[in-house]
Amino acid sequence: MLSMLRKGEKAIITDISKADELVKRRLLDLGITEGSEVCIKCKMPFGGPFMLESCGQCVGIRKNEASCIKVEGL
């Protein structure tokens, strides 16, 4: 799961189908989908959102959304 990655770790998204429809659409808009490489840049405290980096851009998503996205470590 994406939410289990540690700060600085890289991974490839393998399954995004469990995520919320709107979240999926927005991530797709940003070019993040199955097969994209992502890297966790930081995690906000108290279960706050994550900052991801993918193809040279940074995106913020919530922890519970990240925990619906399956990834495979690199």
Partner: protein, 667 residues
């Protein structure tokens, strides 16, 4: 000729618009700055340029994105100018392909080539142009490089020379296009290919558009049968995804031919900055520090001395000069009083605060242009989530510190209708710049040693009340619907001096202009009301019409600590514009300058009632312009009246508590 500007969010469309038209529209470094259509005239006067909100694709999720689809479907235009971010070509080309499918004459402005170059991305412009079959002009919208060429290319008559690029979506989709063509029987003027693809992707606007020509059942049938046929032999789950993948594959090919990435230049500076700014533990403290410095500068270190100097200038030399001038032309006593006690007191009393307002706007502009706004949204998201909103809602609130009207407009970028409505209703609680003069005046009179702190407490109070109300609303009136948060964090950019000045001036200009028009007229009326009464003209102020009107409210306000007709009258004018409170007070208390007014206020208010008054001003009602915007955005009288009603109730209760409890403690 009408030229529409289209492109992904934050790619520099509005920068280009400003550059070409010479006008100024709102520019900022986050996604979703422009939320409505703006029209400008090209420098040569030959063409009209239409700036639109940024979109990732033509299938909209939020209200501002819907504006673009609406525009393409309903409005006539001659040409599309697609601004493409060269440093994010892959993502940007998805939209470009959809625009090519749309079929209107297209030209591409390849923007941000400076950023791309820094990242080692080299785009072969000629090649890109020939592959896409679309003219491509490289530009840097920020500095204006290449903009002349682009303007030239965009206005020269279109000649269809090259064949435009077409994505191969496979046989099944081609069949669907033919089918839709038959169903339409040539009734729509839009490209059937584009309509079909958008329909299959689930674009609600296009579906609605098609429903005016075709039966709902036929449309659904078409979508269904095509989906089934397309998805039968493949592993993708939805037709939307299938179309995306096809486009993605095509883009991959295009990029392979046209771009070259030369050696990664290590960690970009932007990411290094983010290590600190959005650090897990430093994020929130840094935000609070930034806000603190902003308030200290506006209210204490820099703003106050400047305002005082201006005050001295207006009440001294300027009043003196006007007075002498009036004597010179032999003005009557009435005119004399009208000009000096009415206009100079009313308008001058507001103008005095121009330096402070400009400092505030300057800092808001820095926050907007640097890329910090999106980070604030990220840092605040956890807190906002607890009250049923998302971090994005904080951006409208921050903008609301400048002026509530653009703040409420900015709420359009919030995707879920429930959160958007909540943000629209709560943004007026953010203390806008027009409320600043009231604070400045009162803290100057009562809290000389804790100026910035007292003002900061009011700003924070506005936020806290908004958050508590959000929690209450989301548990009562506006329940349901999950909240959702995905935000793009743009790279930091160093704000440019010229752009900063422009953006500060554009925001501050409104304040100065309002002082010269609205406040001017208001001052005359208020002065006349205070000059005349049932007993004739030139009456004692306490016997004037103004005192009668204000007196109606006085008993109601007494429990809050300011039960005077003067307070009642100024609150009434404050509904029209918050800074009118100050001009009204200046006129009522008969003093031409800030210092004099503060002296008189010290007799009628105590520090406690002054604080209670400021809290009331902060919350009591959105100003007229804000109310109009709420009506426009919610489209409902019910919510508009609700926004006024709850504000009044909260303001009354809070001021009451503050004053009564304070009195118990003997303050």
């Amino acid at each position: 000729m009408d030229i529409a500007l289209l492109g992904n969010p934050n790619t520099g469309k509005t920068s280009m618009f400003n550059n070409l038209t010479g006008s100024y529209e709102y520019v900022g470094n986050w996604s979703g700055v422009t939320v409505e259509k703006k029209v400008g005239i090209f420098k040569q006067g030959a063409a009209k340029l239409i700036d639109l909100p940024g979109v990732y694709s033509l299938n909209p999720l939020s209200k501002d994105e819907g504006v673009v689809t609406r525009f393409l479907l309903d409005d006539p235009f001659d040409r599309m100018l697609n601004i493409v971010d060269a440093s994010q070509l892959e993502r940007n080309l998805h939209l470009t392909l959809q625009l090519i499918e749309f079929g209107s004459p297209l030209i591409i402005g390849l923007n941000m080539i400076d950023v791309a170059k820094n990242r080692g991305i080299q785009v072969d412009v000629e090649k890109l142009s020939s592959v896409l079959g679309v003219e491509v002009v490289p530009v840097v919208a920020r500095t204006g490089r290449g903009c002349k060429d682009l303007a030239e290319a965009a206005t020269t008559p279109y000649r269809e020379t090259k064949k435009q690029f077409q994505v191969d979506y496979g046989e099944e989709i081609d069949k669907a296009i033919t089918k839709l063509e038959q169903l339409l029987q040539g009734e729509s003027s839009h490209s059937t290919r584009w309509l079909t693809l958008q329909l299959l992707e689930g674009n609600p606007y296009v579906k609605k558009y098609l429903q005016s020509y075709i039966d709902m059942a036929d449309l659904d049938g078409l979508i269904h049968s095509t989906s089934r046929a397309v998805l039968a032999g493949s592993e993708v789950r939805t037709i939307e995804q299938f179309i995306y993948k096809r486009r993605q594959a095509a883009i991959g090919e295009i990029l392979k031919e046209t771009t070259e990435v030369k050696g990664n230049s290590g960690q970009p500076l932007s990411e290094k900055i983010d290590l600190i700014i959005t650090n897990k533990w430093l994020g929130l403290p840094i935000f609070l520090c930034v806000m603190y410095v902003l308030f200290m500068l506006t209210f204490d270190w820099l703003g106050f001395p400047l305002s005082d100097a201006l005050d001295a200038f207006i009440s001294g030399p300027i009043t003196e000069g006007i007075s002498q001038l009036l004597d010179l032309v032999g003005a009557s006593k009435f005119i004399h009083a009208l000009v000096l006690d009415g206009i100079v007191a009313g308008v001058g009393g507001v103008l005095v605060f121009v330096p402070q307002i400009f400092i505030l706007f300057f800092f808001i502009s820095i926050l907007e242009d640097s890329g910090y706004m999106a980070r604030v949204a990220l840092v605040m998201d956890r807190l906002m989530e607890m009250v049923g909103l998302n971090g994005k809602a904080f951006i409208p609130m921050m903008i609301g510190f400048g002026c509530n009207v653009p703040g409420i407009m900015a709420a359009r970028t919030i995707e879920t209708p429930r959160e958007r409505l909540m943000t629209t209703l709560l943004t007026p609680l953010m203390s806008c710049s027009a409320r600043l003069p009231v604070y400045a005046l009162f803290v100057g009179a009562f809290f000389v040693h804790q100026k910035a702190l007292v003002v900061l407490s009011l700003y924070v109070l506005g936020i806290v009340v908004a958050l508590i109300l959000a929690k209450i609303f989301s548990n009562t009136l506006l329940r349901g619907e999950t909240s959702f948060f995905v935000i793009e964090l743009p790279p930091y950019r160093l704000p440019q001096a010229k752009a900063l000045w422009k953006s500060t001036w554009e925001k501050g200009k409104g304040f100065v202009k309002k002082a010269g028009t609205f406040i001017f007229a208001g001052s005359v009326i208020i002065w006349l009301l205070s000059y005349a009464g049932p007993g004739g003209t030139n009456v004692q102020m306490d016997d004037s019409f103004l005192a009668m009107i204000g007196g109606v409210f006085a008993p109601l306000l007494a429990p809050l600590g300011f039960g005077t007709w003067q307070a009642g009258a100024s609150l009434l004018t404050g509904f029209l514009a918050k800074e009118a409170i100050i001009s009204t007070m200046n006129i009522i208390y008969f003093v031409p300058d800030e210092a004099g007014l503060q002296g008189i206020l010290a007799n009628t208010f105590s520090p406690l009632s002054a604080y209670s008054f400021m809290v009331f001003i902060l919350l009591y009602i959105p100003c007229l312009a804000t109310v109009a915007t709420i009506k426009k955005e919610t489209g409902s009288y019910k919510w508009t009246f609700f926004s006024m009603g709850y504000a009044l109730a909260i303001a009354y209760i809070l001021s009451l508590i503050i004053y009564q409890v304070g009195q118990v403690f003997g303050l």
